[in-house]
Amino acid sequence: MNEHVAIISKALENDRHSQKEIYDLLAPKLYAVCLRYAKNRMEAQDFLQDAFVKIFSKLAEFKQEGSFEGWARRIAVNVILDDFRKRKLLEYSLEYKENGNQIKDHGVNVVDKLSHEDLLTMISKLPEGKRVVFNLFVVEGYSHREIAEMLGVAEGTSKSQLGRAKEALAEMLLLLNKNAG
């Protein structure tokens, strides 16, 4: 049984204290998720707000079988993807030739010096389509097939977007290396 059963059942009765407890439990992790997908902090806060509104409205649908945090995280990601779809921000360039060696060759020597903020800044510079695929595959751990289903694209498109994203990030790391050196 889920450890949050009591809080969830109270939150379902519109108990504000329980709702705040759920918010305090999930908000830091979900805000981190939103920050990775958003262009800036303001956008991330909007995503978080929408995500919690959805979570509280769908709380009755949570079956208390799996992880509550995982369920909430999926809702947050879906809210973000819906927003991108509405704004038609998910555009994918099709031309990509996989060139893994180049990425590997680029310096990842600055890795130890990079903070969360640096990584977020790098990711936020990616176009929405590439950023979404990179986050879904690398951080959330979805497969290319799952990503293709979620975004309504071909599996190849997901792969190509990931490749392009990694290429762009590698170029950014190279620049950071040059500046550091």
């Binding site: 918010y23 805000y31 990775r36 509104v53 509280f56 595959f137 497969s143 990694k166």
Partner: protein
């Protein structure tokens, strides 16, 4: 979902995966305030008042009833307007109200026609009247027309025949009775005179 750390061959993937794995950050207080305000609004909306339609259905129904009654009243009044105008305004009246399929007869025309057919004045005039009544003339005017004495022109042999034929066609039984009575009366008078 894929196993997160099963394929760590790519250094960039590894870098970001590890970098974000333990990432947590508290959002500003405004976010919770906004969420709480939204939850309050939905709670009030769901609990007491409901949607716009359910809240205002009574008003909407009454408006609909009022509107339909106004439309009905307008339809009825528009029908009344089509009816003929009173006699005083008859001179100003436009003949465009007449039904297009029916013949429209003006007084002058009626008179000329009646002159042309001298013998059949009484009967034909009545027929003509009914047609005109249907199309143009008002009831008041018809009453006036009926009140007018029907002038029978001096009988000519031709006209007499026509009149007799038409009278026979229209009212044969009455005329026959009258003739019988007249004959009886003339016989009685003749007998009395003899006596």
């Amino acid at each position: 979902m894929q196993d997160k750390y099963s394929e760590n061959s790519d250094p960039i993937e590894d870098l970001f995966r590890k970098g974000f794995d333990s990432h947590k950050e508290s959002p500003p207080e405004e976010v919770w305030e906004n969420i709480a305000a939204f939850l309050d609004a939905t709670k009030k909306g769901a609990g007491s008042e409901g949607t716009f339609l359910t809240r205002h259905w009574g008003k909407m129904l009454s408006c609909l009833g009022l509107f339909s009654s106004v439309v009905l009243w307008l339809m009825l009044t528009s029908k009344e307007e089509v009816q003929p105008l009173p006699v005083d305004n008859e001179k100003k009246r436009d003949t465009s109200f007449a039904a297009p399929s029916l013949p429209v007869m003006v007084k002058g025309e009626e008179a000329s026609k009646s002159k042309e057919k001298k013998g059949a004045v009484t009967v034909k005039a009545k027929g003509a009247k009914t047609k005109i009544m249907d199309s143009v003339f008002t009831e008041n005017q018809l009453k006036k027309e009926e009140e007018k004495p029907i002038i029978i022109p001096s009988p000519t042999p031709e006209s007499d025949k026509n009149v007799q034929e038409q009278v026979k066609e229209e009212e044969p039984s009455n005329l026959y009775d009258q003739m019988k009575k007249e004959k009886k009366e003339s016989k009685q008078l003749f007998i009395e005179k003899k006596k």
